[in-house]
Symmetry: D3
Subunit: 243 residues, 6 copies
Amino acid sequence: MCALRIDGRACDELRPLVLETDYLSHPLSSVFISCGKTRVLTAVSCEEKVPSWMKNQKVPGGWVTCEYGMLPSATTERCRREASAGKQGGRTVEIQRLIGRSLRMAVDLENLGERTLYLDCDVVDADGGTRCASISGAALALAIGCKRLFPAAENPFKELVAAVSVGIIDGVPMLDLCYEEDSRAEVDMNVIMTASGKLVEVQGTAEGAPFSRAQLNELIDLAEHGLKQIFVRQQEILEKING
Amino acid sequence: MCALRIDGRACDELRPLVLETDYLSHPLSSVFISCGKTRVLTAVSCEEKVPSWMKNQKVPGGWVTCEYGMLPSATTERCRREASAGKQGGRTVEIQRLIGRSLRMAVDLENLGERTLYLDCDVVDADGGTRCASISGAALALAIGCKRLFPAAENPFKELVAAVSVGIIDGVPMLDLCYEEDSRAEVDMNVIMTASGKLVEVQGTAEGAPFSRAQLNELIDLAEHGLKQIFVRQQEILEKING
Amino acid sequence: MCALRIDGRACDELRPLVLETDYLSHPLSSVFISCGKTRVLTAVSCEEKVPSWMKNQKVPGGWVTCEYGMLPSATTERCRREASAGKQGGRTVEIQRLIGRSLRMAVDLENLGERTLYLDCDVVDADGGTRCASISGAALALAIGCKRLFPAAENPFKELVAAVSVGIIDGVPMLDLCYEEDSRAEVDMNVIMTASGKLVEVQGTAEGAPFSRAQLNELIDLAEHGLKQIFVRQQEILEKING
Amino acid sequence: MCALRIDGRACDELRPLVLETDYLSHPLSSVFISCGKTRVLTAVSCEEKVPSWMKNQKVPGGWVTCEYGMLPSATTERCRREASAGKQGGRTVEIQRLIGRSLRMAVDLENLGERTLYLDCDVVDADGGTRCASISGAALALAIGCKRLFPAAENPFKELVAAVSVGIIDGVPMLDLCYEEDSRAEVDMNVIMTASGKLVEVQGTAEGAPFSRAQLNELIDLAEHGLKQIFVRQQEILEKING
Amino acid sequence: MCALRIDGRACDELRPLVLETDYLSHPLSSVFISCGKTRVLTAVSCEEKVPSWMKNQKVPGGWVTCEYGMLPSATTERCRREASAGKQGGRTVEIQRLIGRSLRMAVDLENLGERTLYLDCDVVDADGGTRCASISGAALALAIGCKRLFPAAENPFKELVAAVSVGIIDGVPMLDLCYEEDSRAEVDMNVIMTASGKLVEVQGTAEGAPFSRAQLNELIDLAEHGLKQIFVRQQEILEKING
Amino acid sequence: MCALRIDGRACDELRPLVLETDYLSHPLSSVFISCGKTRVLTAVSCEEKVPSWMKNQKVPGGWVTCEYGMLPSATTERCRREASAGKQGGRTVEIQRLIGRSLRMAVDLENLGERTLYLDCDVVDADGGTRCASISGAALALAIGCKRLFPAAENPFKELVAAVSVGIIDGVPMLDLCYEEDSRAEVDMNVIMTASGKLVEVQGTAEGAPFSRAQLNELIDLAEHGLKQIFVRQQEILEKING
């Protein structure tokens, strides 16, 4: 046990992970993911057309895109509703671009056909790591959605993707930070990986002080350790879904 | 039994009603309300200041206001995210003004003190009647929130409020319309009432053909019948909450 | 005479009503309506195409829609110009949706053909009841416009519509409230009716205290009494207009 | 008589000018000006504070500013409502800046005291020359407003201002262009002058072909001729107004 | 020498003028113009389509339009970035409309073919006269761009255009005002001319006190004097450019 | 020499780097940086107040923030001007957040005092790597600005920061990608470091295929190699600047 963590977890221990499928009535597929107290509703909707820039540039195939949002009451202090503020904040834009980019790596866009898959990630309760939870949840929802849209032989879904945050707090590397840990972290890193163990995106940010190459490596090791467990859980569920 | 209704309900029968309290970690209080397949997350947050117009006009006391939203995947066809569209649609604005107005009737604003209570109503799944579900859920959340904020003797909460939709379909008045019924209704009415049986707001709208005074009365009778049952359910829960 | 009213009117007495047609040079038809000191310029313009959502959903026929605005100098305190504020306020949106919805009831949209009729309602002077004046004026302008657009046999205009406000002030039901009365009303109701006496929309709102079924009925009686007089005036003018 | 003009006017003849004062109930003063078929409602409202930039820069005295708008039904083809479009168009911005700048020349801002005078110019019917009509109307409204706000000895209003358009059509200089003339003009000029005959603003624009110094002078001569008549009319009315 | 000017220039002397062509890698043509310390990057880009309003109105030929901007660090006090403010200010809109209008006079739009030429004028350093510098620079860039786009026989470019500011300071007319002079000027005028000596636009504005016809003429004389020198410089450069 | 690179550079070779200081007249400091054909104007302006959120949260000290923009003519195809589009695009927002975050690591915010330093990064010519060029240029401008604002003993500037892009193209790791290389890269990484060799931010993104840990390490090695040379150049210039 790791005496340093506020919830008594070991430094290399994930928060309890729950993946609930088809929580919603209407979309093609949905996954309600909980990572500890962080809860995100992810959903996949399919529209039978592509963005106009794809048409203009005559890019073949389809598109996968993401929109991210937070319910105003998802945070400790109520956060302002972006719809009434009249625009999405910079943090929101940055996160939804990251999610979209990562999940496009999971799909063979050319074989998707002329359609757009929308990933909606809405944070119901926030306790740190919402972008990673969104990716791990939406990747599963995307896998399920593709299974439903396509016969197995034509399924453009390539492989599962998952994300986890790691960070250094008081000099100690830790896995899957909650909000309080995240606020105190000297270094904060999000690691996004494929089920086959390759990196999709690495974003490491010094918050208080710059970090060394050795620390970078230690953090990615820790992330890999956690991601393997997430892949097992995603896989179990995906196998039970009929196409 | 009413052969006309798609879910086999009697014409004067409510959809199954579920009220789950404190679904969220952070806000002062929250109620997750389900009316059949319509599910709305309502939450109350308290800010210790009042809108600037109140200060300028030196209105004494506090304020209660509402913001309403729909998750993009809450509807049959994915609806556009208002935050990325850059503004709230006319329907959203109309609904949140109605909810705010109705719930202000439940509270003695002068005795609320210099604070604003935000009611966030976010539709997770939509199957008709989302504004009524929002009101019935938020009224309970508001009652619970006030119980927590104030000693019993100073509680500015006056009485519970609830709302239900009624309508005329193929000439037959029906209670608590689901989406498919709502789309076909000739007349659509929302009735908002206090627990003591007085009207807070009546909004009756001819959709296909204008209606008579007799029909208006029949519809309000039907609404009262349903509202009484909702008040019983709200009351049961409220009594179990400790201030 | 009703000692309670600031302008000495009887409680069931309308304000002086003036309907001036073709006040404007350019639109298909226009009515400048005065209800006491409330003056609204209503105009009908015709565009030979329908909104894109109608085309996409392959709804047959045409559309009627409304835009409402207030001149900044129409109110006691200058109100902010919405064009420079960069958006229409919630009250404006709510009112123009109500007007559009009510006036669509006056027209057989399918037989309107593939065209959109725009109703512009611009308040030049405001003294309460601007949405009702807008409806009564725009309904007449719409009737005149249709007479001009269509041969009598193909005219899709069904019947005139009018609106009036009623309210309870110090416990007394009153007809056609001016601004000062409206501000003090305990209950405020807008009643929209067809010339044949059926209800198009009823919106009753408790402002200070909830109201009883008996009061609701009393108010609608009062409204009907006033609306009959408005229909007589509209009709007189419409008959003199050549198609 | 000038055979070239569509309404039979002489080339140096103004359109019929009507100036109606206090057309509106609420503002400090208002002038409804008609120049032929162009009709503009101008109004002056007073707010007892100055823009924040004046406070920050510690500029002494007050401010005069203008907002200009067109009713959607004021033009041959209905023009889009700027409030619903969500912003003022470039033409509107350019016009209201011109009006504000010109009218500030009519007032001694330092002696205005810490207040802002809003000039609202709303075009009810447009047939060319709306910016000039706005200036001539608003200048009179401003003079009246100042007379009402200040004792004669402290009145910061300096002198009347008026504007008129001139242009060259088929090589012939003409005064006070209507819309059809304006659309065909090779050169289009707005001349704004003080009652004492000095220039406040001259804006000459080549529309089809550049123009010579001689033509520039001819046009200003023509404008002066028209402006003298407008000043007589403004003056007559202003003298009858009691402070 | 003119003792009155802060940089020791004679009253009828231009600031040092530098015209650097093809400063940018990507656009069709570009001119980096310096008028003393005022520096503006002007560029011409060509798009092979016309604005939708031209298509709808079936106007034959092409279009020339301008967008103007200032780098936030171009001014004494950092000015707000319009992209992050969410809209272009009134001054920006007014200037870019003026530039576009003036430069359209330099081109035979019908013979331009179905294309739009974008003029981007971005102020890198501002010391007064940015709109005039933009016009003189963009006119040369436009001439170069057309030479590159068209064979000589089909070149729709008609003739060079240039602009200069003049003003009256302490009663003395001066040419090509710098920022400090501009801020103190009683009258401020921008004169835009063709190389053949005709006027394209004259905008004279009283800043402190209205001005006489005699002063107007004196100012235009002074402007002509300066513009002749600018045309010589533009011409020299243009002749060296190969089509 | 590396036969693979379009400009003949070795795979581990930087593009020609030019750092020109005080290019602009008005701001506290400015650096015009060229990395090959990519040219970015970076400037530092100081405002003697902090953002309101800092005041509200009573965070001590000052703030460093960045705004990033591209001139419309900086790209191969003219890109839309964000000021006229009415908002900053997602890419812009993401980049300016990254720059601001990285540069805040270079400064001791608490000792900055109650002031905000604005970093404006405006891309004049874009040929890949604009965010990295912005960081390397703005870091130097920030160092110079702090030297001018503070006596040496109180200077809150901690150490220089620089950024470079690396990527894998056709399986080969390359340093400092130009636009064409960037478009074809399988992996794209931005590495931001301090002069003392610690990491500030690492952002590695799989564009075409996910990447291995070994590749990640190779890329960071390559980046370090390039960054050392940039630090030498920044340092040389900084030493010559007098405080």
